[in-house]
């Protein structure tokens, strides 16, 4: 049974793409076929973390949405870059990335012309079956737009990533409320970039009671993560770091 998981944050800069990439690698490493789809068409970024160069990307999600290719043709096998050596003759683990085009003309075209949002929905399901995925992670655009809402609607689980500040607190509640209206099956909160010295217990209580959803992980503001930002997968580079251990908690919950 495959699982579709959306990762969303109301505002940018919460560390969502980094978190998505690290989680996908941990899920793959546990022996799964995992796909990451970057629906953040307006400001794609997750490809950087997987060391996928724009020049290597012949076809992207945009090409599929314009009907130029099948969605699986825009999938790139990044298993080696993400988790290192693996047995290529076995079907598992595998990690695929479906990037959005970083070509500004393409981005403008999508923004100007729009596309049939139903096509994205079809693509998500086609991808799961064509690549025989155990997990599909959808890295969504910040804020609430049509892609976000569709991603949430199509997902089995929703991870909301937020920082402990007032704008994130209010904004995340909007997404949580809309997700509830869309009958999302399971919703989790991930608190990221928590400054040292903040009262974690209090924070946990406030967030859980405000959203009525469990907090799956509380990640500290990490200097190491910030330094490594977008230049590799933290969880694999620092397997024993407290931050990685928190990331493992999320992965374990998703694996259960």
């Amino acid at each position: 049974m495959s699982q579709i998981i959306s990762i969303h944050s109301f505002r940018g800069g919460t560390g969502k793409s980094n978190l998505t990439a690290n989680l996908s690698a941990l899920l793959a490493k546990a022996g799964n076929r995992v796909g990451v789809i970057d629906t953040d068409i307006q400001s794609p970024g997750v490809h950087v973390i997987f060391a996928l160069k724009p020049s290597d990307v012949k076809l992207a999600l945009n090409d599929y949405l314009w009907g130029r290719c099948r969605i699986e043709e825009a999938a790139y096998d990044v298993t080696a870059a993400a988790i290192g050596r693996f047995d290529e003759s076995a079907a598992r683990p595998r990690l695929f990335l479906i990037p959005s085009s970083v070509n500004t003309g393409e981005i403008a075209q999508i923004l100007r012309g729009g596309y049939d949002i139903g096509k994205l929905n079809d693509g998500i399901h086609e991808l799961v079956s064509a690549l025989d995925l155990d997990y599909l992670l959808i890295d969504t655009h910040p804020g609430v737009n049509e892609e976000t809402l569709l991603s949430i609607a199509v997902s089995d689980r929703l991870l909301l990533v937020m920082r402990p500040d007032s704008q994130d607190f209010q904004g995340t509640a909007i997404t949580a409320e809309l997700a509830r209206k869309l009958d999302v099956r399971e919703m989790f909160i991930i608190l990221n970039k928590i400054p040292a010295g903040m009262d974690r217990e209090f924070l946990l209580q406030q967030v859980e009671s405000a959203y009525g959803a469990p907090v799956l992980a509380m990640l500290p503001l990490s200097i190491e993560m910030a330094t490594l930002a977008s230049s590799g997968l933290f969880a694999l580079r620092f397997p024993d770091h407290p931050l990685t251990l928190e990331l493992m908690k999320i992965a374990k919950r998703l694996l259960s």
């Binding site: 949002i117 609430v144 609607a153 402990p164 209206k181 010295g197 903040m198 009262d199 406030q206």
Partner: protein, 172 residues
């Protein structure tokens, strides 16, 4: 009634109960740029703990940012780490020495008429204005999106959207 303070953000320090994390005592300061914490009675925040030094630490405002600086060699503990100085955010908790008491720092945007170093005994466990939801605004924004055509359409087609389609369904 005194004049409203020119500085509309009061500094609030809560002495926390070690067992429950609930505030035992609250101090509120306005218009002060330095606040001394310790065991001595003439401190701005005087706590009755034998493990706290007479003058243990002070808070200072540097260009609008509050930080706490240790005076005592016992230093301060933040997340069980010993530090000599730490910048304070709303909700920060720090301990005065390894065995001392825990304090919670927050900013209160309500103008207060309490005198400087006025000691209040109000217990306010929810004194975190940054973690308050404006429910009225929330429901207004949610309704605005939920009443839109796209959302309505999505809601009506949820069952169809969630059921994986057969691979041959692509008309292309």
């Amino acid at each position: 009634m005194g004049m409203p303070s020119v500085q509309d953000h009061a500094v609030v320090l809560d002495l926390l109960d070690t067992a429950t994390g609930q505030p035992l005592q609250t101090w509120r300061f306005t218009g002060q740029t330095e606040i001394v914490l310790g065991r001595a009675l003439d401190c701005d925040v005087a706590v009755a703990s034998p493990y706290v030094s007479r003058a243990h630490a002070y808070l200072q405002n540097v260009d609008g940012v509050w930080q706490v600086v240790a005076i005592s060699s016992q230093q301060l503990l933040v997340n069980e780490r010993r530090v000599a100085l730490v910048e304070l955010f709303d909700g920060c908790v720090f301990r005065l020495g390894p065995n001392g008491c825990s304090m919670r720092f927050s900013r209160d945007s309500q103008a207060t008429t309490a005198p400087d170093s006025g000691q209040t005994l109000s217990i306010d466990p929810n004194n975190h204005p940054f973690l308050q939801l404006d429910r009225t605004q929330l429901m207004r924004e949610v309704d605005e999106i939920a009443n839109g055509d796209f959302f309505q359409n999505l809601s009506e087609n949820l069952q169809r959207i969630r059921q994986p389609r057969k691979s041959g369904a692509n008309p292309d």
